[in-house]
């Protein structure tokens, strides 16, 4: 009797399919760059496409969360395919630098970028900066009363304050800046006050905070500056205004954070990767990269969008961006100590 070996047959087919699929995903061509991108495609693609048009170098974006991609980069080590790492947050860049995942970029290439917005060893460079600001409802009772982020702990804002949950990267980076500027004790009290004010209700999106402030459900919120303008694009008459905090004489100034890029240590295309970095910090690249999201270009002499307060019109907290990585764990400890939601 003829035996049909069905199970072995099935196994054979399965292993065949598996083997095929294991290797079928073509490895990218030699003349293209791979970026692990922790920034929204929408903000990265225009400038990258411009780069490809000008140089003919193809770029593959592998998009995800900055932290997850940094984890991946670290575990992959020498086997990574990534040539560059684009992060939304200076903290991640410095962390990767501390782990030795990046290679130093030639110093004269980075000269046009202010020293405060790149790594000390030039292992990463900031491309665009965002400001941590207050959004206030202009019709509400708090309209003209808030001048400092520390005012957000004022009990008058009970139930009227919007902040993100404490896993948000921009939020953590902001707290790091305040912690370094005014010390742990004051920051701790401030967090405690905010915790009492929000009473467990925090937001997972900055845009929702702005929306709630615009609707008058909240009086004030702590957000990145561009969310305010994004809302105003859709609702030009919304009763909200931006407040640049801590501008008093003895105030610490506004907290900044940068999105930036690094070249991976194990790339085999360092020269190509430097070309991309050079393009991103060129005047055209800077204009485009910062403009799509109305952020501040980090290159000296390139102006930000006219919609937002000019960079030289207010004081920025004097904390180097690299500190956002070095002090991140201390900040998280502080946040957990208070038990911020």
């Amino acid at each position: 009797m003829k035996r049909l070996r069905l199970i072995p047959l099935l196994w054979l087919v399965a292993s065949f399919v598996t083997l095929f699929s294991f290797f079928s995903w073509a490895t990218p061509a030699d003349d293209s760059l791979i970026i692990y991108s922790g920034r929204s495609d929408k903000f990265v693609k225009p400038v990258i496409e411009q780069f490809t048009r000008e140089t003919g170098i193809k770029v593959i974006l592998h998009t995800g969360k900055s932290t997850a991609l940094l984890n991946k980069l670290r575990i992959e080590g020498g086997k990574t395919e990534a040539d560059l790492f684009l992060s939304n947050d200076a903290g991640n860049l410095q962390r990767g630098s501390d782990w030795g995942l990046f290679r130093n970029i030639k110093a004269d290439l980075l000269k046009p970028i202010d020293q405060a917005y790149r790594a000390e060893d030039n292992s990463w460079v900031g491309l665009s900066a965002r400001a941590r600001v207050l959004v206030v409802n202009t019709k509400g009772p708090m309209a003209n009363k808030l001048t400092s982020v520390f005012d957000l702990a004022d009990p008058a804002l009970k139930g009227k304050l919007g902040i993100t949950n404490s896993t948000n990267g921009s939020y953590i980076a902001g707290v790091t800046v305040y912690m370094l500027a005014v010390g742990k004790q004051k920051t701790l009290q401030w967090l405690q006050g905010m915790k009492d004010n929000v009473d467990g209700k925090v937001f997972n999106k900055h845009s929702k905070i702005v929306k709630a402030v615009a609707r008058g459900k909240l009086q004030a919120g702590l957000v990145n500056h561009y969310y305010i303008y994004r809302h105003l694009d859709k609702h030009p008459n919304a009763p909200i205004a931006i407040v640049m905090p801590d501008q008093a004489k003895d105030g610490m100034g506004v907290a900044w954070n940068v999105a930036g890029i690094a070249i991976t240590k194990n790339t085999r295309k360092a020269a190509l990767a430097e070309k991309l970095v050079a393009f991103l910090i060129s005047e055209t690249g800077q204009k485009q990269f910062a403009e799509v999201n109305r952020e501040y270009p980090t290159r000296i002499g390139v102006n930000a969008s006219a919609d937002i307060p000019a960079a030289n019109s207010y004081r920025v907290a004097d904390v180097p961006m690299s500190a956002l990585g070095k002090e991140r764990d201390a900040t998280l400890d502080l946040i957990e100590q208070v038990g911020m939601p």
């Binding site: 035996r3 099935l10 598996t18 699929s21 294991f22 997850a68 990534a82 962390r95 896993t167 997972n204």
Partner: protein, 540 residues
Amino acid sequence: MAAFFPTSFSRSISGSGRRFISLGGLAAAVVLLAAMPLLYVVYSSLQLSVDQWFQLWSSRLPELLWNTLSLAVLVAIGCVCLGVSSAWWIARREFPGRRLATWLMILPLTVPTYVFAHIYTTLLEEDGWLGQLWITLFGNDNSPPDLYNIWGVTLILSLAGFSYVFLLARTALSQPIRSLEEAAQIQGASAFEVFWRINLPLLRPAIAAGLAVVVLHVLSDFGAVSMLQYQTFTLAIFQQMEGRYDHQAAAGLSLILVMLSLTFLVLERFFRSRQRYHSARHSRHMLVRKATRVETCLIWFWLGLITLFAFGLPLAWMLSWSWQAWSQDLINAQFWGYAGNSLMVAVIAASIAVVVAFPVAFYNARKRTAGSQALLQFSSVGFVLPGPVIALGILSFLLAQLPFLYGGLGALLIAVVIRFLPLAVQSQDAAMAQLTPSLEQAGRSLGAGPFENLRRVILPMIRGGMATAWVLVFIDTLKELPATLILRPTGFDTLPVRIWIEASEEMLELAAPAALMLVIGTLPVLWIMMHGHTAKTDQQ
């Protein structure tokens, strides 16, 4: 009968029992592969010092345990209420649109939890559909309810998961033991008493099995809890890894989650093991009464209500935003590429999972020893580990041991197969429960060899189970997010990945078509599963 199996299976090959051992070996190999991420977790957590354990224990564990367990209980209750009630009406009453109703009850399976969470938070905003309705009804002073709490997560996970309970309860209710019900009625039991004292106990195994799937989904859910920021083990593990890059603490938390889940699985097994005793013999009477007009109205009111929230609203939302995307020309070749990628991964992963699950289930079906049971349970490890942890385990393992596999689809496929292997194993195991030695004996006595027996007797009998296994793995893979995020090949985006990226940037127009494609992509396989099921019941 234990003695019968090995010899019958092996004799015709070599007469030495080698065949049977190799089946066991195969099963063990599969389980070992599935346990790989667990080994990684154990290894990493061993590097935690006593102090660190103590700190984990005192700082996070009580809260996480309470949050996770109470969520599991609430979702279980929610799923039983929705699933059993709908299954009862559909299995026991003949009413217009009954087939459609069955479909409506399983369609929510096509919507991933993170899409549910995203849609409902959007709808409940003050300018969302439900938010506006709320304000119209209750005035401007009352904010619409907020989903960022245990009740919100319970709602989302119940809507997303009750279909599992429905499917299993419906199957069980379609095979009633009428004599018992009649006996109870003759004794003067009311309809409610019959349900409470006859049907519910008989349903218990099916409910337990359905709940097992639901609870495991809850324990491993990443999408909804991360969208709604509700601190469960999975979210805490993820935050340890992402926020602090602390893989050891993440592994420690994972280990506790695994123990929690295994405890639960053992409990569930205990309940289910009594199933065979209860429903081993049942009559072939089907008790389907024609619904009265009032009943029909009630049935459709209830089913309609469930459908509205579990599928209608999400679908309407997806359609409305997809339409906007369409009119803005945002659906281009790239989008179809994502859809193709998703489909490819899901088809391959489901096929592999069904094949590799077979030895584990089959080995257990023949042996039914503590050892084979243990293997079966251990294959469930994938389901109880959070996706990100599995992904990291596999990433580390592959890079250290099999670096040539890295970079292609291989890593991703291994991860999703491990994650969803339990679905395949459990479905096949359930299907094999009806295999009795006498059947095989009959085949053997008619001169069929082991493979012919397998092909002509066993496989046809468990075909339904295998189809279900394939479909369940397919659906879950299509929706898979956390492992895909970490392990996909460079530049390889699937629909869930796109939904996640776009939703986190609040580009609703781009998230909606991808979510809609997931629903559409799942429809044909659901049809296969339902069709297989009706064919099977018709035969009976």
